[in-house]
Amino acid sequence: MKKILIANRGEIAVRVIRACRDMGIATAAVYSECDRAALHVRLADEAWPVGPSAPRESYLRIEAIVDAAKKAGADAVHPGYGFLAENEDFAAACRDAGLVFIGPSPEAITLMGSKTAARRAAIKAGVPVVPGTDEPLSDRASDADVLKVAARVGYPLMLKAVAGGGGKGMRMVAAAAELPGALRAARSEALSAFGDGAVYLERRILSPRHIEVQLLGDHHGTVLPFVERECSIQRRHQKVVEESPSMVVSPELRRRITSAAAAVAKSVGYTNAGTIEFLVDADGSYYFLEMNTRLQVEHPVTEMVTGVDLVQWQIRIARGERLALDPESLLQPKAHAIECRIYAEDPDNGFLPSPGRIQGLRVPQGPGVRDDSGAYEGGEVPIFYDPMISKLITWGDTREHALQRMRRALSEYQVRGIRTTIPFFQWILDDEDFKAGRFDTGFIDRKLRKGPLQEIDALHEDLAAIAAAVHLFTRPVTNGTATAAASRWRDAGRVEALR
């Protein structure tokens, strides 16, 4: 493999470019109109345009991406996550064009990407699943039909997109009355996010924790599981904080849950990187939830506790190498790691997207800190894509150590000009229940209902007022039309007038 085309944008494209560089492999980026000056384009060895800014006209266009790979003379394509990463047609189109798709086979994507087929595979492998419908609900099913099926599954239940991921096309339904509205919303969101409006029903497990197992499978029949990740800190079913290992997984549970995950993957001949997600309830029972047939956003926490570069291994597996890793060491965490997903969203305003120009950026540094980012000072966060701009990861000897480093890193992190979820993470990191590990997947939504994030205290209000005045008072005068000297005279006049 001499050159890899990265069929993605933003921070994950940058992450893959770095893995390629570390291996001495050349990189080709793709970009939409608004991404011409994006960081992944600036860092890649070459870059090819694939269309207008709307994802459907660029990053989701299979022919355009395959065409770019051919023009670039790439041997392989890395899909990142999101966009076409779990699209079997894309994996097949790469194969047909003689390009190595760095991921599982199109057949495995089809099988495990369909949540209902994946459930059947898990049942066959002897792994417990959450009660629910094994088939998607028909598009033509009437509300009455769906209500009948729902009554069998039991309330509260979850509506989920068959093609889903990232919380899109997903709705919680507490009672029958909410079902018709939630069904319409889930279908429409699924259709717009994945081009497929099919949804299914699943019983909601109460107070569940989200525990998942990273896997790597090679083309020689080996599947290796990694120490678990915990991703219970979610907002509207979207993971926002992930850590490894989990506080609630004993060595005994780790052995059982990682073997179960490997068994499911092996039973379908899975290759490359994938993740099996479980719900674990209060008494330690676990249920297969779904499989993600791609790299996960939270892969760095696994990398930091095992010392394995997962993206490099994806590439090595794709070029036919055997998994030369010690299986035991992958199950023994060597540190505790935590990740916060930094989104361009305003936590003080209902987490509304906050696109725009990054006027200033200060990135945390120092021991135990990693920032996987696609942002730079002067760069734009476009409105067209997922608002995640970076992943901040810290690690330490213990959970407390990793958490304290995260507090330190968040206090160093400044993204000026747009709003981000950094204050939201500071609030989570200071929460007593979070610190003690008392949470489940409903934690954030319950806490947020109780009121706004922390208020600004009197001291910091004073300091902000002083800082603003000092800023205006000492600001060098640079006026587009008037000369600096003239502006100073005018300012002086204004100062006199104010006396």
């Binding site: 429409s188 007022a465 800023h471 205006l472």
Partner: protein, 176 residues
């Protein structure tokens, strides 16, 4: 030089003068001695003499992001982001006298909070609506955001159609 600084609902008066190497900053009648060094156009390193300290020693690294309105900033310091509006003395008082629309009464103009696409319009002109009832769904950054009625009322007019692209601040419909 005298400014008015608004943070949240509170408007405060700040006076600032240079005294040799330092600045004297009077905030609501209390004096703070500040040693300020400009790091860049948008960053100022301050050493602030707070109550009881013998010298300006509290290190505050402040940086600023400007907003479209002149004098509106986000101030970043101590790991916090604090929105600030700063104006020449007397400005906020004048603004209040001129009178500004408040939230209590009058028609509610439901505006798109960001550029996006109208996915669904859930009501028609003339419909009676309840507080918190969904009115229109706008898709932006891949998420659907449902905009709701602030209070009970009646839809006066709907200004958009499903599928239509809208800019930030565009009025989508009006409830009275």
């Amino acid at each position: 030089m005298i400014f008015e600084v608004a943070i949240g609902d509170r408007v405060r008066t700040v006076g600032i003068v240079r005294k040799g190497a330092v600045l004297h900053v009077d905030l609501d009648g209390r004096r703070h001695v500040v040693d300020a060094r400009r790091v860049s156009d948008s960053i100022v390193s301050m050493l602030v003499q707070l109550d009881g300290a013998s010298a300006p020693s509290r290190s505050v690294d402040a940086s600023f992001a400007s907003k479209p309105a002149a004098g509106d900033f986000d101030v970043h310091l101590d790991g916090r982001t604090i929105p600030v509006q700063i104006r020449p003395a007397g400005s906020f008082g004048r603004q209040k006298k001129e009178g500004h629309a408040t939230n209590g009464a009058g028609p509610q103009r439901v505006a798109s909070p960001m550029p996006g696409k109208v996915v669904r319009v859930l009501v028609n002109a003339g419909d009676a609506v309840k507080a918190r009832q969904g009115l229109v769904v706008v898709e932006a950054m891949k998420m659907e955001n449902e905009l709701r009625a602030a209070r009970d009322g009646r839809v006066r007019d709907v200004a958009v159609k499903e599928g239509q692209s809208v800019d930030a601040g565009a009025v989508l419909l009006t409830v009275e």
